[in-house]
């Protein structure tokens, strides 16, 4: 991954004056989807690119070694080899960006990936995922254990209570401690935007998370009722741009939850391209947290190559 975000001192003046107008952001979100579209080869290339942004995820109570192993295999071979050959893309080393699992499954994933001989990073959720409602001490411990097990990326959830009650210093301090606990592992901070109450809070929480040293900010856990939405993403992307303009540090963005179709993924790519620019369109700065998405992308690629729509049995499961 790219250079780490060293973070900055807490500067509340960066968030005190901020205004986010929700209806205007909603309109922008609608427009952005209608104004950009890609077709034909562009679509195929963009979809393959989207694959390289995926944090292939399984976060279920019934995860075991066998399905984590299958997930890791799929992460290494996300698209059928013959389809890639047809596009002359088989030598591009297309894999997903990472696999993402619960802390207890990190060692399984590391083992499976090592067995298949590839260096896809393992990301682990942590800090009382998905609610964050556990003691700070155990949350920090959780991060350390996951890193010890071999996770190189930690997706932490923030304490929503601190946002809703406006305790920005406390939030900054907590994330600072998460960052410290991560050591060399990259810190991805989940804002759980569906539970923050307003877009202005989303902006403020994003800014605090970046000041505290997050390498990524992530929309949601996938477990809230409202997941990754365009309006929320626009606000977060604008915060990332503002942070870049203020500090020169590029922070990554990860939407997660509810991104299921290939068409969705294209919209997310163009959203990032429009709001932040091409520099952000690389796995070091953009991830999509998803599980079902990959299969739909593979189906679209299948259609692009063969001209026929695939049955599910035509493609390997993950």
């Amino acid at each position: 991954m790219s250079a780490r975000n060293p973070g900055t001192e807490l500067d509340l003046s960066w968030i005190s004056k901020v205004q986010v107008n929700q209806p205007a952001v909603l309109r922008r979100a609608e427009q952005i989807q209608a104004r950009r579209t890609v077709k034909k080869e562009w679509q195929a290339a963009w979809l393959l690119k989207a694959v390289t942004f995926i944090d292939l995820t399984t976060l279920s109570g019934d995860d075991t070694y066998s399905n984590v192993k299958r997930l890791c295999y799929k992460a290494k071979y996300p698209i059928r080899e013959d389809l890639l050959k047809a596009l002359n893309m088989h030598d591009k080393g297309i894999t997903t960006a990472a696999v993402c699992v619960y802390p207890a499954r990190v060692s399984d994933a590391v083992k499976a990936l090592k067995a298949s001989g590839c260096d896809i990073p393992v990301a682990s959720v942590a800090t009382g995922f998905p609610s964050g409602q556990t003691h700070l001490k155990t949350r920090l411990e959780e991060i350390k254990l996951a890193v010890e097990d071999g996770a190189t990326e930690i997706d932490v959830v923030i304490n929503r209570t601190l946002v809703l009650t406006g305790q920005w210093e406390a939030l900054y301090d907590e994330i600072r401690q998460f960052r410290k606990a991560c050591g060399t592992a990259h810190l991805k901070t989940i804002l759980a935007t569906g539970e923050l109450g307003s877009l202005t809070n989303v902006y403020k929480a994003s800014m605090i998370a970046m000041m505290a040293g997050s390498d990524f900010i992530k929309t949601s856990t996938g477990k809230e009722t409202v997941n990754a939405t365009f309006p929320v993403a626009i606000v977060m992307l604008r915060a990332i741009r503002d942070f870049f303009w203020k500090t020169g540090n590029k922070i990554g963005f990860k939407p997660a939850g509810g991104i299921r179709t290939a068409k969705d993924s294209l919209a997310w790519l163009s959203l990032v391209k429009e709001e932040l620019g091409d520099e952000w369109l690389k796995p070091e700065l953009f991830r999509i947290g998803a599980s079902a998405l990959l299969l739909d992308i593979e189906r679209q690629i299948y259609h692009h190559v063969t001209g026929r729509y695939a049955a599910y049995r035509d493609l390997p499961m993950s």
């Binding site: 205004q19 986010v20 107008n21 929700q22 209806p23 205007a24 952001v25 909603l26 309109r27 922008r28 427009q31 209608a34 104004r35 950009r36 579209t37 890609v38 077709k39 034909k40 080869e41 562009w42 195929a44 290339a45 963009w46 393959l48 690119k49 596009l87 002359n88 893309m89 591009k92 307003s198 877009l199 604008r238 741009r241 303009w245 790519l269 163009s270 391209k273 429009e274 620019g277 091409d278 369109l281």
Partner: protein
């Protein structure tokens, strides 16, 4: 300073930059070195092909795209358009009376693809006889169409909506192809809005008999459209016109086929072929169209100067003129705004093919730097190219629009302005890049001139008050948006802006139910909502408007000189004598000319002298009215009502004197008493109606209300008729005051003394300057008022010549003008003397959009 590639820069355009050789990339095929592939041209340097036709190589480009993540072409085929044009043998005539009209021996103009120059069809240019044929068809259709019950017309409009729905692809492709606008905007916005308009107006037609009782359709409407946005501008006007029972003749500029297609779709519906007729021809045909028998209204949509010329040309011709002029918009960005969203507002307003004109951008100084940085960053991401590409923000508007923008930008630069353009476009391409102009000195001519598409002119302001002064400091008054998260500030600005539409924290929203229009030089016609319907209605029983033009009226000298007056015999004098002088600024003042005019009674005896007012007195009166205006507008409707009622009571006390005065002028004693009584009632009625002028609308696709505000026009000039000296005076005065205007009145020429009597009460009851009464030569005073640039509206009830002159002279500041055309009015009747027509004319509508959400 050569600007190329990406990155922020402020560049000054110079000639080198515009040379294609410098700007073109590899082999001269790619014109944009940055990420803005506006257009591509074949390697042989041939015609512009547009992005859509960029080479699509046979082998897979996926590898390359995988690395660059460029956008690709998203072409929309225009085969359907070509097929439609083939049905006309690539020759478009006019659509009249449900048939294509292709007369022989007409000039024709080519209709071309603005990007490639591909010849699409030739369009025949109409001649006066074609206009006559169309007007004839509309006149014939009017009989059956206007006689239909509203519900049947509603059915027909609904069928037209369905027809459009069935052929929408053809419509949007054609519109985008020939106008060069982004197809996305036509497809996703124009077409749905067109359908909503039909639906909304069908509903209005359905309930017409109840909701619009007392009104009848005007008759045949002539509609003149601009070249861009012809589809939507046409729908905004034909929908209400057809809904209320008018029939329409549309004159479109050469080579605008979309209105023709629309007319064909309407014509193919059957039973009422002549209700919508479309001619293609130059604007020089407008007077011909206006002069056709039966044409009662001319609605014009175009540039300010064209509108001004038209108003002068059509003075006295007959049809009422509705003007919608200019295309510039305004955006006011305060420090309490969500700046990023406001930047998107700028994109909506100028760089998205959504709005027809350029933008004046006012930014609070404290957020100036931040705003400029964000704007420039945003501009870098705009994509331009052929309109039929599904992923471009901006298309082209053809060579004329490009040259206009080019000229404006060069002028601005020569006046010392900074110019920022995203990407480089060679001068011989049909495209013009989004342009941001700043640091234009306030005194530079470009600051006052209308900003053309796609230019944004930014200026800083310090306080909200200053912003208002700057925003209201141009003669235009179309639309504006206010960006502030502080509700109080947003409302303060929204109410204070002198424009037709204000959006708070949004820009460019439209809805059929919301009246849209302008004020001042943007023209005072409205479309949409109830206000839009009234544009095509007149009070039932109003006689048809006939031409009353006098060809030998000399505008230069009309009313210029006042005949001098000499002592005229023994004065029999009224008793008690009213104070002598002009009633200006709350007191009686001696006239500047220091001369008087004799007033005779019905016996021809000298009744007395009144002051002879002149140009300087009118100037003083207008000034006094302006000074009184803020205070009067600021009064609550209740307070205004109370004052009108107090005035009514005073009038009642004066009844015997006033009746006596009228009797001296030959009014029967009984009738004189009735006239005074009715005058008292007018004051009371309008006092009561001063309440509840505003209301809120609920529209689709917006959470939150739209306020329909009825705002006073400002300072109104009123020239009262000779007939009914007291009643007409009161019938005209009462509504203007009730709705918050201040007024300069010229009382009856023959019998001004009752009006002066009432002034004595106004002096004690009303704030000084709210009402000013200037006696004197009617023609001369009308001339002074009509030519005064700071009188906001003129009502003239007098001679035909005076009416014609008033219409002609009001073109100076394009003030709304209402003239009697020399016809007397039945002031004693409710409809003519106190009807809703007066209420409509005494105020203007502003729509204030208030989106909500958190």
């Amino acid at each position: 300073m050569l600007a190329r590639g990406r990155g922020r820069r402020v560049l000054r355009l110079d000639h080198d930059l515009l040379q294609p050789a410098l700007c073109s990339g590899e082999g001269g095929s790619t014109l944009w070195t940055s990420r803005f592939p506006w257009a591509e041209r074949p390697a042989d340097g041939g015609k512009w092909s547009g992005l859509v036709m960029a080479a699509t190589r046979a082998e897979s480009r996926a590898r390359e795209i995988f690395t660059t993540l460029e956008y690709g072409p998203v072409p929309e085929s225009h085969a359907c358009v070509l097929a439609w044009l083939d049905t006309q043998d690539r020759c478009l005539g006019h659509y009249v009376d449900g048939k294509w009209l292709k007369p022989e021996h007409r000039d024709s103009l080519p209709c071309q693809d603005p990007v490639t120059g591909e010849h699409l069809a030739s369009c025949l240019q109409a001649q006066p006889e074609d206009v006559a044929a169309a007007a004839e068809a509309a006149r014939t259709a009017l009989e059956s169409w206007s006689g239909l019950p509203g519900a049947s017309r509603a059915q027909h409009l609904t069928r037209l909506a369905k027809m459009i729905q069935k052929h929408q692809r053809l419509l949007w492709t054609l519109e985008s192809l020939v106008t060069g606008r982004a197809v996305r905007e036509v497809r996703d916005r124009d077409i749905p809005l067109a359908l909503q308009l039909l639906q909304y107006h069908a509903i209005q037609a359905h309930s017409q008999e109840e909701a619009l009782a007392g009104w009848e359709p005007m008759g045949v409407v002539g509609l003149i459209l601009p070249p861009t946005f012809s589809l939507l501008e046409m729908m905004w006007r034909i929908c209400p016109a057809l809904a209320v029972g008018c029939t329409v003749v549309v004159l479109v500029p050469p080579a605008s086929p979309t209105p023709l297609l629309l007319a064909q779709l309407a014509g193919e519906l059957g039973p009422f072929p002549g209700i919508l007729n479309v001619l293609s021809g130059p604007t020089s045909l407008v007077p011909v169209l206006a002069g056709q028998p039966g044409v009662q209204k001319v609605a014009f949509c175009g540039s300010v100067e064209e509108g001004r010329v038209l108003q002068r040309t059509l003075a006295g011709v007959g049809p009422e003129l509705g003007l919608a002029l200019g295309a510039e918009s305004l955006l006011l960005l305060t420090e309490a705004a969500d700046v990023d969203s406001a930047v998107e507002g700028v994109v909506d307003a100028a760089w998205s093919d959504r709005s027809p004109g350029g933008l004046r951008l006012l930014v609070q100084e404290s957020v100036w730097e931040e705003t400029m940085r964000r704007l420039q960053a945003r501009m870098e991401r705009l994509r331009g190219g052929r309109g039929l590409d599904g992923a471009v923000d901006m298309g082209t508007r053809g060579a004329a629009a490009r040259d206009l923008a080019q000229h404006y930008v060069r002028e601005a630069q020569s006046q010392g302005a900074q110019v920022f353009q995203a990407g480089d476009v060679p001068s011989d391409s049909p495209f013009f890049p989004p342009t941001l102009v700043s640091d234009l000195p306030p005194a530079a001519p470009g600051t006052q001139a209308e900003v053309p598409w796609p230019v944004v002119v930014a200026s800083p302001f310090r306080t909200a008050k200053e912003a208002l002064a700057m925003a209201n400091g141009t003669p235009r008054g179309g639309s504006a948006s206010v960006w502030s998260e502080r509700l109080g500030q947003a409302l303060e600005l929204g109410y204070g802006l002198q424009v037709g539409t204000v959006w708070v924290n949004a820009h460019g929203l439209r809805d059929p139910a919301v009246p849209t229009g302008g004020c001042r030089e943007s023209g005072s016609s409205r479309h949409g909502g109830l206000d839009g319907l009234y544009e095509y209605l007149r009070p039932s029983g109003t006689p048809a408007r006939l031409p009353y033009r006098s060809e030998n009226l000399n505008y230069e000298t009309f009313g210029l000189a006042v005949p001098s007056t000499l002592p005229a015999g023994p004065e029999t004098g009224p008793s008690p004598a009213p104070p002598y002088g002009l009633f200006v600024a709350g007191r009686f003042q001696a006239p500047g000319a220091r001369s008087s005019r004799p007033i005779q009674d019905s016996q021809g005896k000298l009744h007395g002298y009144v002051a002879e007012g002149g140009a300087k007195d009118v100037r003083g009166a207008v000034e006094a009215a302006h000074q009184a205006a803020p205070g009067w507008v600021g009064q609550s409707p209740g307070a205004r009502a109370a004052l009108l009622w107090a005035l009514a009571a005073a009038l009642e006390r004066r009844e015997p004197t006033l009746a006596l005065r009228l009797e001296r002028h030959g009014v029967e004693p009984k009738a004189a008493k009735a006239e005074v009584k009715l005058s008292v009632r007018r004051l009371r009625d309008w006092g009561a109606r001063a309440q509840a002028q505003n209301h809120s609308l609920q529209v689709a696709e917006l959470r939150g209300p739209v306020l329909r505000l009825r705002e006073p026009l400002g300072v109104l000039g009123v020239v009262c008729p000779d007939e009914r000296p007291l009643l007409a005076f009161m019938s005209l005065l009462a509504p203007t005051l009730a709705l918050g205007n201040t007024v300069v009145l010229v009382p009856s020429r023959t019998c001004p003394i009752p009006a002066l009597d009432v002034c004595q009460d106004m002096a004690t009851l009303l704030p000084a300057g709210v009402v000013n009464v200037v006696t004197g030569d009617q023609d001369h005073l009308a001339r002074c008022l009509a030519l005064h640039q700071d009188v906001q509206a003129l009502w003239y009830f007098g001679s035909a010549q005076g009416s014609q002159f008033s219409e002609w002279a009001s073109a100076g500041n394009l003030k709304p003008v209402w003239v009697s055309r020399g016809c007397p009015r039945a002031w004693e009747q409710e409809a003519a003397g106190a009807g809703p027509e007066l209420e409509l004319r005494a105020a203007r509508t502003k729509a204030l959009w208030l989106p909500m959400g958190d």
